[in-house]
């Protein structure tokens, strides 16, 4: 009796240890199943892209006061397979010689919705929310030069950004 009793005590694992092993095994099985499922079902990633051509726009030479219209429209291409918040455009001032600059209030974008030339003083929403698909916008730009602008080359950027849906 003494011997049997000793064997029983030695062979019986602690209840906590059992439970831990069972949990770990269950977790391992679940993870393995999840991994197999992920491999078996091809997953389509969200895809959103905006491109613009050309990526450099030269307004040419300006003399005196006047409006310079860009020689060609920018082609903004939006491709997405999901709903997104649309495209906004924003610009920096055109930095010139010394401290001279042409402010964004004199850089105008022809809004594709209204056809009006609007100053790029703030980020401008061009489209509103958009669904999946491929779209191309023709964007015309205009720059007003004043007689007070010192001669020299001026450079800035116009950025088109796709925003997340609301």
């Amino acid at each position: 009796m003494r011997t049997r009793s000793r064997i029983r005590v030695a062979a019986a694992p602690a209840p906590d240890c059992h439970r831990a092993l069972r949990w770990a095994l269950a977790a391992a099985v679940l993870l393995a199943l999840a991994a197999q499922t992920a491999q078996a079902v091809p997953r389509v990633q969200r895809y959103i892209e905006v491109t613009v051509t050309p990526d450099e726009l030269d307004f040419g030479d300006a003399r005196g006061t006047g409006s310079q219209v860009a020689p060609e429209p920018l082609k903004v291409r939006i491709a997405a397979n999901c709903v997104h918040g649309g495209v906004i455009a924003e610009a920096t001032a055109l930095a010139g010689p010394g401290d001279a600059e042409i402010p964004t209030s004199r850089l105008f974008l022809q809004h594709p919705g209204t056809g009006q030339y609007l100053p790029m003083i703030a980020p401008m929403n061009l489209t509103g929310p958009m669904g999946p698909g491929v779209f191309t916008l023709d964007i015309n730009l205009r720059l007003d030069v004043l007689i007070s602008d010192p001669p020299g080359q001026y450079s800035g950027t116009v950025t088109f950004t796709i925003v997340a849906p609301n």
Binding site: D16, R19, A20, W23, A24, A26, A27, L30, L31, A34, R43, Q45, R46, I48, E49, V50, T51, V52, P54, D55, E56, L57, D58, F59, G60, D61, A62, R63, G64, Q68, L74, V76, H84, A91, L94, G96, I102, L107, L141, L143, V145, I147, S148, D149, P150, P151, G152, Q153, Y154, S155, G156, T157, V158, T159, F160, T161, I162, V163, A164, P165
Partner: protein, 161 residues
């Protein structure tokens, strides 16, 4: 919470994070265009069209200076050259003052503050009468004979520095 339960909870959290990592909102995508323009040195002069009246005091031999309305606009410093051509047969000595003037910086300037046209050495007989000087574009009329006005020209040439 026992140790196994804590381990399982941690595993579940890790699993949920891994599963949602691919489903986050799409990143903002951007396209940038470089925009350039070249502003060239520029200067222009315009002269008013109209007439001014000059009264020549009796006994005077010099007509009061005539100013010409108009503007010079430029985005750089300029040098202004002025030349007066009297009408044929005109009397007196027609002078634009100054003939050469430099403007150090660009801007808008009024010709009337820069330019005067004076006729010196007129015959005594011209005094005591009123004469009309016509300004037509870039020309300034004669002061020597009101009944037979001749036409001279005042030419302002602006050269960007």
């Amino acid at each position: 919470m026992s140790r196994p339960t804590a381990i399982c909870a941690a595993l579940m959290v890790i699993g949920v994070l891994a599963a949602t990592a691919g489903a986050q909102d799409p990143p903002r995508k951007q396209a940038v265009v470089q925009v350039t323009i070249r502003v060239l040195p520029f200067a222009e002069v315009t002269m008013d069209v109209g007439q001014v009246t000059v009264t020549l005091p009796a006994g005077a031999t010099t007509a009061p200076p005539v100013t010409v309305g108009g503007t010079i606009r430029s985005n750089v410093g300029t040098t202004i050259y002025t030349r007066v051509t009297p009408p044929e047969g005109a009397q007196g000595d027609w002078v634009a003052e100054p003939e050469v003037r430099s403007l150090a910086t660009g801007g808008t300037y009024h010709l009337s503050e820069l330019l005067r046209i004076t006729v010196y050495d007129l015959p005594i007989g011209f005094g005591g009468s009123t004469h009309t000087i016509g300004i037509n574009g870039q020309s300034v009329g004669s002061v020597n004979e009101i009944t037979k006005p001749g036409t001279g020209t005042a030419t302002v040439t602006v050269i960007p520095d």
